[in-house]
């Protein structure tokens, strides 16, 4: 990887079943991630993905670009917009893009863009991959 490289876009489908599986695996059982009743009662339009699930998709893209797991030295983002996940068999698509900002002794600095529809769902997502 070198400065300016555009990394191949990754598209992931997210369904309600994925959120349930992630709740179990992560231990985050907040009902806004599986119950429309609770989600709407706190003012959300419906069930939303865990922010950490969306971040995990960004990490998945990084592993794909790096050629395997274990090279992420740093990963950070803000949770700016919720990913609404409909109760159907289709789900919703999350797209992860990445650009190599620079390569230093620390590693490869990657600036990410994570979108759902037309919206950026993570704020300033970025990572450092060990060389």
């Amino acid at each position: 990887m070198k400065t300016g490289d555009e990394l191949p876009e990754q598209t992931y489908t997210v369904t309600r079943a994925d959120l349930v599986r992630y709740a179990g695996a992560s231990g985050d059982f907040n009902p806004i991630h599986w119950s429309d009743r609770v989600a709407t009662s706190v003012g959300l339009p419906g069930v939303i993905a865990h922010g950490m699930f969306t971040m995990a998709l960004a990490a998945r893209a990084l592993d794909t670009w790096a050629g395997g797991p274990g090279r992420v030295a740093e990963l950070g983002c803000k949770f700016t917009k919720p990913v609404l996940v409909p109760d159907d068999d289709t789900g919703v698509e999350v797209v992860v893009r990445g650009t190599v900002k620079n390569v230093s002794d620390e590693g490869v600095h990657v600036s990410l863009e994570v979108t759902c529809g037309d919206e950026k769902v993570l704020g300033m997502p970025r990572a450092v991959l060990r060389g």
């Binding site: 992931y12 994925d18 599986r21 992630y22 179990g24 695996a25 992560s26 231990g27 985050d28 706190v42 922010g51 950490m52 699930f53 971040m55 995990a56 998709l57 990490a59 998945r60 990084l62 592993d63 395997g68 797991p69 274990g70 992420v72 030295a73 740093e74 990963l75 950070g76 983002c77 803000k78 949770f79 704020g123 990572a127």
Partner: protein, 135 residues
């Protein structure tokens, strides 16, 4: 009720040791669509360990945090090394900062995750947004 100012700089007791098993990493990897090859855990796996430290903070009765008012605002991980199966990890949370914006408390936390030899593995920085009664 705003969160108590004396919270800043406070470090909470370490969590009980978390035994990282290959099956747990595989379950987490599958849940995020990744493959587990027997080596490093996915990069956000450390949240499983950090989460218990954050939950302990939010459940402290003397601080004034109501769990259902908390939103995850920001998350960052810095890794000294990847998490692997066989690790015994403990997490120690410190409250680094506290600001009030528009009736919400913005709580900056830092959780140091170390192995059984007290060697650093990962630092997880989380910003928790605690919405006030009217926010």
């Amino acid at each position: 009720m705003p969160v108590d100012d004396s919270l800043v700089g406070r470090t909470f007791p370490p969590t009980a040791a978390y035994d990282v098993s290959a099956e747990k990493i595989r379950e987490f990897a599958r849940a995020t669509g990744s493959e587990y090859d027997g080596g490093a855990a996915p990069a956000t796996f450390a949240i499983v360990v950090a989460f218990s430290a954050m939950t302990a903070l939010m459940e402290q009765p003397d601080i004034g945090i109501s769990l259902h008012r908390v939103v995850h605002g920001e998350q960052r991980f810095t890794y000294t090394r990847p998490v692997v199966a066989g690790d015994e990890l403990t997490a120690t949370l410190t409250v680094d900062s506290l600001r009030q914006i528009g009736g919400a408390d913005i709580i900056g936390t830092r959780t140091e995750i170390v192995d059984v030899h007290e060697k650093p593995v990962c630092t997880a920085f989380a910003t928790l947004v605690h919405r006030g009664d009217d926010a």
